[in-house]
């Protein structure tokens, strides 16, 4: 996993909203959605703002009360997971619109908890995900009920 560089959310395939202290993240490419809470929300906001690992670590230590080693380890582990899930990307140059300076240290730090990326894949059947190569004699794809292709329909 790439830890050297500036992180950002993998737009436009990944969309997200933070609402009442929880970040809902949706990967439009694979039909999986996620939730982050507590320190994970702060970390996501820093990634969205274009932070690199040093900025991320400094900002999180400035905002959370906990063992620095534990915070560093948790950051690294979450970054690995977020990259594995294809939610963030890394670039070698800082974005022009990077806003990491907007995330300020807190006078009264919050208690640190290890961020957990909760993952939900119960709606993947709504998307076209598995390639098939059969077409019928006219060259048209088989119908969904015959081949498993075709966007499903929710009720």
């Amino acid at each position: 996993m790439d830890m050297l560089g500036y992180f950002s959310v993998k737009k436009p395939d990944v969309v997200h909203e933070t609402i009442d202290g929880e970040t809902v993240i949706v990967n439009l490419e694979n039909g999986i959605y996620y939730s982050l809470r507590n320190s994970g929300v702060d970390m996501w906001n820093l990634l969205e703002a274009g932070a690199n690992l040093d900025e991320l670590t400094e900002a999180m230590i400035g905002r959370f009360d906990g063992s620095q080693d534990e915070i560093r380890r948790a950051i690294t582990e979450l970054l690995v997971v977020l990259q594995q899930e294809g939610l963030v990307k890394v670039s070698s140059t800082k974005r022009e619109d990077s806003q990491t300076d907007l995330v300020q240290p807190l006078n009264e730090k919050k208690k640190f908890d290890v961020p957990v990326l909760e993952k939900y894949s119960d709606m993947q059947e709504l998307l076209l995900l598995d390639p098939i190569h059969e077409v019928d004699e006219e060259g048209w794809p088989h119908k969904a009920e015959e081949s498993g292709t075709g966007n499903a329909e929710e009720g």
Binding site: V15, I19, G21, L28, S35, P131, P141, G150, E153
Partner: protein, 363 residues
């Protein structure tokens, strides 16, 4: 790995749109002249112009409650045709292109969007299975809808037709297409959010039976400003399997697709039987998340905004080609504007409308 496809320029996409448009013109000419139907969708005039009569009985019953008289200039015109009933084969080059889309893992996004034709102005999607081609010019507010054979449309397209086109169009206004049910009264109602099987349809039909107004059981349009409001798009109700039909036995004879595959849902067009209770829309007072719990008593419990957004956003986004950051922002705004509740469903469905009516009576 899928091959990368190059985006067409907007000029190329527009030229392609015009080419497909000429194909519609030919179908209309072959079918003996177009037939117009007018609807008021989210309060805005929409004209459906059919090349011939073939698609009209398939696509208009779901929209019947929004029927409008011709008059106001349409804010959206959709040109619709099928090859079978108009006796108009696609031009070879277009037919070949759709064949190429059969290699969908290269050309189609996961929601059926045609990757190479995605610009600010022009959108296109190909719905595999029924093989529905949809395209829109958002500057001219004109859309094209083609299917090979009107007789081969699946039940869900009959129940909620033109969903992709209406989503593209509404997205440019102040409305957001959402995957949700809606029931209530003329002065206010609730949205029902959740994935398939969560109990949206059962809740909506239980409320219909109890005399509440019905605006949706799965897809509708919502807005937050100037006030939270839901607009009905389809007067359709869907029932899955024998258990649903057993819950609502008097609806069984009203099912429009009596001869259906076992895997298909039963589709009813409520405007035909309950016109007084089918609503064009109402202000939104709350968002309910039905969940089948099996507990004795049906009850409402406050839900967090994040839980409501999670129930509403992913299933909406995954079904609408091109929906993304704007759509989730719109849904988030709505979730902020109205309270959310878990609707824990017990076995006695008669308790559902009582709870909903109580909630609405609180104002």
């Amino acid at each position: 790995m899928p091959k990368r496809v190059e985006n067409w320029s907007e000029e190329e996409a527009l030229a392609f749109f015009h080419f497909v448009h000429t194909t519609y013109n030919r179908a209309e000419s072959n079918a003996g002249g177009g037939q117009e139907r007018h609807f008021l969708i989210a309060g805005r005039p929409v004209r459906l112009q059919f090349a011939g009569p073939g698609l009209i009985p398939a696509l208009t019953p779901a929209l019947e409650h929004l029927k409008d008289s011709p008059g106001s200039p349409p804010e959206l015109t959709v040109l619709l045709w099928d090859s079978a009933s108009t006796g108009t084969a696609l031009p070879a080059i277009l037919s070949r292109y759709l064949d190429v889309l059969g290699e969908w893992w290269v050309h189609l996004g996961p929601r059926g969007e045609i990757k190479e034709i995605t610009s600010e102005r022009i959108r296109a999607a190909y719905h595999l299975g029924p093989n529905i081609f949809s395209m829109i010019d958002l500057k001219e507010n004109t859309a094209l809808y083609w299917v090979k054979d009107s007789q081969a449309l699946p039940y869900y397209e009959l129940g909620s037709p033109l969903r992709t086109i209406l989503h593209w169009w509404a997205d440019r206004g102040s409305c957001q297409f959402v995957h949700a049910g809606a029931i209530g009264r003329s002065d206010g109602g609730v949205l029902l959010a959740g994935k398939g099987g969560s109990g949206k349809s059962t809740t909506a039909l239980a409320c219909l039976e109890a005399g509440l107004q019905y605006a949706s059981d799965d897809y509708c349009l919502v807005q937050t400003e100037p006030q939270p409001f839901v607009f009905s798009v389809y007067n359709t109700a869907k029932l899955r399997g024998d258990l649903d039909l057993a819950r609502f036995p008097h609806l069984a004879p009203l099912v429009s697709n009596q001869e259906r595959e076992q895997s298909d849902k039963a589709v009813l067009f409520l405007q035909q039987y309950f016109p007084e209770q089918v609503s064009r829309g109402f202000p939104l007072r709350a968002i309910l998340l039905p969940v089948i719990t099996g507990t004795e008593k049906t009850c409402l419990k406050p839900a967090s905004a994040a839980a409501v957004l999670t129930a509403l956003a992913p299933s909406t986004l995954f079904q609408l080609p091109g929906a993304g950051a704007v759509a989730i922002k719109a849904m988030s705004k709505l979730v902020h504007a109205v309270p959310g509740y878990m609707l824990e469903l017990g076995p006695d469905i008669a308790q559902i409308p009582v709870l909903v009516a109580d909630l609405l009576a609180r104002g």
